[in-house]
Symmetry: C2
Subunit: 268 residues, 2 copies
C-alpha cells in the first residue's frame, strides 16, 4: 500500500501576502483540504478534483484523526490552520493523535509534516511597531483544555518577571469573564498607563489595531478574533512617521530589575 501525506500548514494571519510560498505549493498539490470552514474559505479555488472537508472550530482531535486516515489511504491531505499551526493550533492536535496508545497501524503509511506561518501576535506587533522587541510570554486564555488556575499562575509569573504578554483566545461567548480577571492580575504588576495593542482581524477585511492604556481596557470590546499584546514596564509609545495612530515598542535595552520594579508598582 502506497502511503499518502499529511501536511499541517498555517495560512498566516489572513492576508495572502503573509502566506509562505511553501504553504502555497502544498495547497496547490493537495487532493484534500481539511479545516475550520472559516480558514478553508481563505484558500482560493484550486483545480477540480481537490476535495474540501470543512468543519466547525471544535472537535480538533476528530479532525486530526480524519486527516491522518485520509493520508493513510494515499491521499495528499492538508490540514489548514490560520497563523502558525504550531501556536495554539492543529499541529499539537495531530501529534496528540499520533501519541495515542491505540494509534491505528495504517497511519504509519502517511508522511506527516508541519509548515510554519506568521502568527497573529507577530502580525499585530508589526502593525503597532515593535512591542515584542524584548522577552515575551505567549499565553492562551482559553480554559477549555487547561485549568484556569494554571493560566493565572502563568499570567502572574510572566507579569511579575516583566515579560511582554501576547494573549491569544482572549474571550468568547462562553468565556466572558476570563480576560477581565487576567487584565486585573497583570495590573497588579503594571502601571495603568502600560500600552496594550488590541488587534482584531489582522490582515483581513475590517482589520483594526488600536493602542489602549491597560487601565482603560474594556474587556467587553474583545472577542475571539482579537489578539492582545500587553507591554512590559519598559514598553513605550512612539510616533512613527507616516502613521496616524500611536506606535508601540519595547526597547532591546533593559535597565531596571524586574523584581524591584514589581515591588515598587505594588507599593505605589
Amino acid at each position: 500500500m502506497t502511503g499518502g501525506r499529511l501536511a499541517v500548514v498555517g495560512l498566516g494571519p489572513g492576508a495572502v501576502a503573509w502566506r509562505t510560498p511553501e504553504v502555497d505549493s502544498i495547497l496547490a498539490e493537495a487532493t484534500d483540504l481539511i479545516g475550520y470552514s472559516t480558514y478553508l474559505d481563505m484558500v482560493e479555488a484550486r483545480p477540480p478534483g481537490q476535495v474540501r472537508h470543512p468543519s466547525d472550530n471544535r472537535e480538533e482531535g476528530q479532525r486530526a484523526a480524519h486527516a491522518l486516515d485520509l493520508a493513510a489511504e494515499g491521499r495528499s491531505v492538508v490540514l489548514v490552520s490560520s497563523g502558525d499551526p504550531g501556536v495554539f493550533a492543529m499541529a499539537a492536535a495531530v501529534m496528540e493523535q499520533l501519541d495515542r496508545p491505540d494509534r491505528p497501524p495504517a497511519w504509519e503509511h502517511a508522511d506527516v509534516t508541519v509548515s510554519p506561518g506568521v502568527s497573529a501576535a507577530q502580525a499585530a506587533a508589526s502593525r503597532a511597531g515593535a512591542p515584542l522587541g524584548n522577552d515575551f510570554a505567549t499565553i492562551s486564555l482559553s480554559d477549555n483544555l487547561k485549568p484556569w488556575s494554571v493560566i493565572e499562575a502563568r499570567l502572574v509569573a510572566a507579569a511579575a518577571a516583566d515579560f511582554v504578554l501576547a494573549l491569544y483566545n482572549p474571550a468568547s461567548r462562553r468565556r466572558p469573564w476570563q480576560l477581565g480577571r487576567a487584565l486585573a492580575l497583570i495590573g497588579t504588576y503594571r502601571d495603568p498607563s502600560t500600552p496594550v495593542v488590541v488587534a482584531r482581524d489582522v490582515g483581513r477585511p475590517g482589520e483594526t489595531v488600536s493602542v489602549v492604556a491597560l487601565g482603560k481596557m474594556d474587556p467587553a470590546t474583545v472577542d475571539m478574533r482579537t489578539v492582545l499584546i500587553v507591554g512590559s514596564s519598559q514598553t513605550r509609545t512612539v510616533a512613527i512617521p507616516g502613521r496616524d495612530a500611536a506606535g508601540v515598542y519595547t526597547p532591546r535595552r533593559y535597565s531596571e530589575e524586574p523584581t524591584a520594579l514589581a515591588q515598587r508598582t505594588m507599593e505605589d
Copy 2:
C-alpha cells in the same frame, strides 16, 4: 521635499520558501538594502541600481539611523533582518531611534513600516513536531543590552510556571557561560528527561534539528546560529510517521498544577 520609505522586513529563517510575498515585493521595489552582510547575502540579486549597504552584526542603532537618513532623502529603503524583525531584531532598533529626544526633523518625511516573518523558533518547532503547542516564553539569553539578573529572573519565573521556553541567542564566543547557567536554572524545575529541541541553521544549508534530554545537554555544542526549545513538564516525544528522528510536542490539554509540579520536582 518628497519623502521616501523605510520598510523593516524579516526574511524568515533562511529558506526562500518561508519568505512572505509581502517581503518579496518590498525587496524587489527597494532602491537600498541595509543589513548584516550574512542576511543581505540571503537576498537574490535585483535589477541594477539597487544599492546594498552591508554591515557587521553590531551597531544596530547606527544601522537603523542610517536607514532612516536614506529614507528621509527619498530613497526606498529596506532594513533586512532574518526571522521576524519584531523578535529580537531590527524593528525595535528603529523604534528606539524614532524615540530619540534629538530625532532629526527630516525623518518625518519617511514612511516607516514593519513586515513580519516566520521566526527561528517557529521554524525549529515545525521541524520537531509541535513543541510550542501550549503557553511558551521567548527569551534572549544575550546580556549585551540587559542585565543577566533580569534574564535569570525571567528564566526562573517561566520555568516555575511550567512554560515551554524558546531560547534565542543562546551562546556566542563572548558569552560562553550563560547557556550552562540557564539550563541549570531550568533544570531545578524540570525532569532531566525533558526534551530539548536544538535547531541550528534552520532552513539553511547544513540545517540540523536534534532532540536532546535536558540532563544531557552540552552547552558547548551550541552557538549563535542555534535556537533552543526546552519543553514544559507536559512536553513529550512522539514517533512521527515518515520521519526518522524523534518528534516532540506539547499537548494542548493540561492536567496538573504547575506550582504543585515545581514543588514536587524540587523535592525529588
